[in-house]
Symmetry: C2
Subunit: 223 residues, 2 copies
DNA sequence: AAAAGTATTTTTGTATCCACGTATCATAAA
DNA sequence: TTTATGATACGTGGATACAAAAATACTTTT
């Protein structure tokens, strides 16, 4: 018998990378709740490595704002206050607004068609629960941002989407599913079609700031 | 977490924290050049600790964009292309614009006086070389941001100032010192005095986007 | 019951070892 | 001279064991 059951080969990713992905995924899905303690040894055992790469992953997650690392008191899952949630939407509004403005020169018929397809997919995914919808929603916003061709901007926006993801899920699952979502996003596409970069920026800002209160209100009620 | 003009109190000094501060400071001052390799052992010896906390500090610095960490190839000092420098100024423009808009309700005569004092100090610091001027400049922008009372926004803006700091120093030292700086910043104060939040936001955006080409052009010439 | 002191647990940092990927450089082949 | 090839040195990533420091829990005493 060949070495079929020898030691699992670490293919491309480092252990730290694996720990980071593992934890980020769990946190995005809401598997841990705010305030939960993350014990390096446990996590390490869970994914079959030592605590060292896990601790390094903690640092990155802390930079992303997904966990809080307090000296000598370990790692706890970060939660967002309503104010913080609001703040993130404020930041998103200007960043994604900027992205739309910068993307405008590259918006052509093809791109617009893609966005409408994504909108349809988002709609359909909405039937089957929060998980798919949230992903499609991120995809919609992400594709628009991508056309700005600004790597750092894209990255920052993406990071913000990750942080609010658990709350989007709760919102989508427990509240009535965002009814206005389709029209809101259709309005963004319409603004993109107009060709007016400043106008599209404004519409995107309004869209994002408009959804913030609904989500914030709901989240504050559900605790 | 970068802390150019952060308000966070220093809790306790872990070794990782010390390594992070040490390296961030060195990178901000331009003690290392883009592409330089940072060898954990060396740095660890330099500040009297082992490799581990240094490596953890690397992760944070990488999240901040100050270094690049490639698997099995260690840690190298990040450099910004002209495009990236531009991008950061674009992001700064909307973030600091937002900060000004949100700060407006808290702008009173006292605040305006403080800003004018800071402007004077910046001017005076300009005589004595880049080091003081850059710090004062960050302080000026930082104090305005602080009035927005948005911790995450403040933090992100601060992080961006850290990343561009070495380039600001080069610019200030080697180019003619930014002559228009005083008027530019005075214009921002004037806009704040007007009480019109949207107008002030726009002035701040223009100020930031206006300085970008000068710096970018100079940096691209000096390599 | 409150305070003080002691023990225990947890976190953090150190030291050491090893496997593996990368880079360097000399040598061989084209 | 250029291009492959291969040996070798080096650094990184990771594991493990251990020590120290801080926080927490637990007594004991007043």
């Amino acid at each position: 018998m060949p070495a079929a059951f020898s030691v699992e080969p670490r293919l491309s990713a480092t252990a730290e990378e694996e720990a980071y992905r593992h934890l980020q995924r769990a946190l995005r899905l809401g598997r841990y709740k705010p305030g939960d303690r993350l014990i390096p040894e446990e996590i390490a055992a869970e994914i079959g490595m030592s605590r060292m790469p896990v601790r390094e992953a903690f640092r990155r997650l802390a930079s992303d704002g997904l966990v809080v690392l307090r000296p000598n008191r370990g790692c706890v899952v970060a939660g967002l206050t309503v104010d913080e949630l609001y703040e993130i939407f404020e930041i998103r509004s200007v960043l994604e607004g900027l992205a739309v403005r910068l993307a405008m020169p590259r918006i052509d018929e093809e791109a617009l068609e893609e966005f409408e397809n994504l909108l349809d997919r988002m709609e359909r995914a909405g039937q089957s629960g929060s998980s798919d919808w949230v992903i499609r929603h991120q995809e919609f916003h992400g594709r628009i941002c991508a056309l700005s061709r600004r790597p750092k901007l894209i990255h920052q926006v993406s990071a913000l989407h990750v942080v609010i993801e658990p709350y989007m899920r709760i919102w989508f699952d427990d509240a009535d599913k965002p009814l206005s979502a389709r029209e809101e996003h259709a309005a963004v596409i319409a603004a993109l079609r107009s060709g007016d970069a400043r106008h599209a920026e404004e519409v995107m800002q309004d869209h994002i700031l408009g959804t913030a209160p609904m989500l914030a209100e709901f989240v504050s009620a559900s605790r």
